[in-house]
Amino acid sequence: MDTDDTTPAVPDDTGATTSRGHLSRRAFLGALAGVGLAGGGVLVGKGLDQDEPARLSFHGENQPGVTTPGPSDAIVAAFDTTAGSRHELASTLKALSGEADKLMSGVVDPDKGPLYPPPDSMIIGPTPQPADLTVTIALGASLFDNRFGLADHKPRRLRPMDHFPNDQIDRARADGDLLIQICASSPEACNHALRRLMRATRATLTLRWLMPGFQQPNTLSGGRTSTRNLLGFKDGTANPDAASRREMDDLVWLHSSDDPAAWTVGGTYMVVRLIRNRVEFWDRTPTLAQERIFGRHKVSGAPLGHPDEATEPDYASDPKGTRIPLNSHIRLANPRTEQAKRTRMLRRGFSYASGFTPDGQLDQGLIFVCFQRDLDEAFVATQSRLDGEPLEEYITPVGGGYFFVPPGARTAGDWVGSGLFT
């Protein structure tokens, strides 16, 4: 990979994209060939022969949308349920899985005729085209209160989102009985899925908060990323390898030894944080200061004083933080100690841009999403290390929640959450 910070980074996040940000993988390859790429910018995703978005399977041991490569668009929507009984809650979850499966398979209900409402909005055409769509269903701590007799089934780490010192959480945009994460290769495909999922569960689910997100999909792997957050820095470097079953088993998916509630095996804890970025303030901060706050070069993404994005920062030779400040974001988030290895998690966030606030400042930021086997050892430990980091001057967590992603619906008759009712 390019080591010169001042050279425009050709292969990583320029060109080779459509106006919608869906990466044309062939065009991208051409760009790589043109600059004679050295080393390993390996494409991730569906392989070189598949330029077009695909249909992904809803069924499996684990839910989709966790280790699936993140596409360009997403919606996270938290709901509260008004189900009046266990039976109604089970029916709701069953209906969600049924509709999610239909959506991911491109199925539309039969049309009953012109005197009835249409069975589908058709916002992505009469026959929904493949769009890398995934629907992920997650449960909040409040679902395990006294309403449905599920207290014994609560995953042991699940609870309302903790309050961290820099948080300014708007409770109307926090927590929720249930969260649906929809990811796809266009905003229309996300909204198409959202509308059908809501229509199928109108009687028992009502929106609590919602945020649409977007990103340039990552085209690199091997400790590199092409994706940048709205602070202009690469985001996702040093993420665990989602394509590695072994690594995901180790860091993301729950094992039978993790929780006395057996139904949780194959599930994962999901943290969502709506983190507002003070982008105007950030844009007038000198580059050097920005880089010392993150601990990385802005252009290349390499750790400060290191040649390459994928280089492990050498903290042992920099005990006082002369190269990479001790309180920089990457050093606090991952101090590269034996202990910190256990705190790794799979990050899979999106950016958001949601108009502006009454002070005239843009409301933009990050929908931080991460998945992990142990909420406390991973996210909470990492976030606690970040307390007081200089970046806090520029970011404010304003919403989000802790959720549990149940194991996948294994077969056609199975549904997400069925393990709660056996």
Partner: protein, 384 residues
Amino acid sequence: MKLRRLTVPLAAVTATIAGCGGSEPATKEPPRITAQITDQGCAQDEYTSPTNGAVTFDVTNQASKKGEFEILSSQPSIVFEGFYAAGQSKTSTVMLRPGTYVVICGNTNTPNRARLVVGGKQKPVDAAQQSTALTEAAATYTTYVRSQARALEQGTTRFTDAVRAGNDARARSLYAAVREPWERIEPVAEAFPDADAAIDARADDHATGEADAAFIGFHALEYGLWAQGRMDGATVNLTRLANRLDRDVAALVGQVNTLTIAPATMVNGAAALIDEAAQTKVTGEEERYSHTDLSTLAANIEGSKYVLELIDAPLTAAAPQLRDDIRRAFTDVERILGKYELPNGYRSYEVVSAANRNALKTSMASLSELLAQVAGTLNLEITG
């Protein structure tokens, strides 16, 4: 005003239509069943009706506390649900298909349940009968709309008299109930855009809100009676607004009296009432100064449910499951409203808990989805 759960005057209408829609001929009064709720449950083990279609229940709650009288089909789905204070008696007419039902007296935990056996045979229905039934229902509905318009006019005069007399307290006490006839027939009244704008526009329908000279009608009076002087905003002239409202309501009554409502318009209106309520009323923004939103909501529900009662027989013949689902959805909404019911109205929308606001949202949204299926089911063309 109380929600009307299948009231007596309606029974005659329903029975007539039942005759056209394929149930037993209903030239005579529907069979009557007398039932008592006791602390142990139902006073009898079995109730029987020789015929299907309309069946009238005279229910008395002899138990020591509030109780329900509930009829469940074998689905099981709730076919009828009524709520009774201790000592209260009510008469209700229910449309029943032949078969055996379960009756709950008290609540679901009360031990003594009863069987209800409904006899007779469901007759097959043909398209011509369906069409006749719908035409008759629409004719009945036209009469209903005219009577509601008259009730609106009479109530409005009482209200505006109080305003002109400077009796603000009396005017405030009348406001919610006086608006109810309007809210029962709102989609039909909205067919006259000028009348709707003059009678029911909200401040935010106008460029400059409360201060806008064009802000007139009920909500301008509501603002004047509740919020003037307590909110930033304009001063409104209550007497002038009252005089104008009288004229606009009288004009509406004249227009409504020339109106003949088609079946499709009626069915569309029933759905529109709930759609609008679900979109803009569960937020509490309709009656933002007086917080009488629950009365408005109850009137919307009542107006919509009346249409469903009128078309019950054709709908039952065409899609019995949809009909039962709609009935249950109405009961769900009524159950939530019932928690805030007072002897002569409803409590302020401000006291409705977050959980019940959510329950209102989902139950209204669910009802909207179901009502959206009715026109197609009855082969009625709604052109928008």
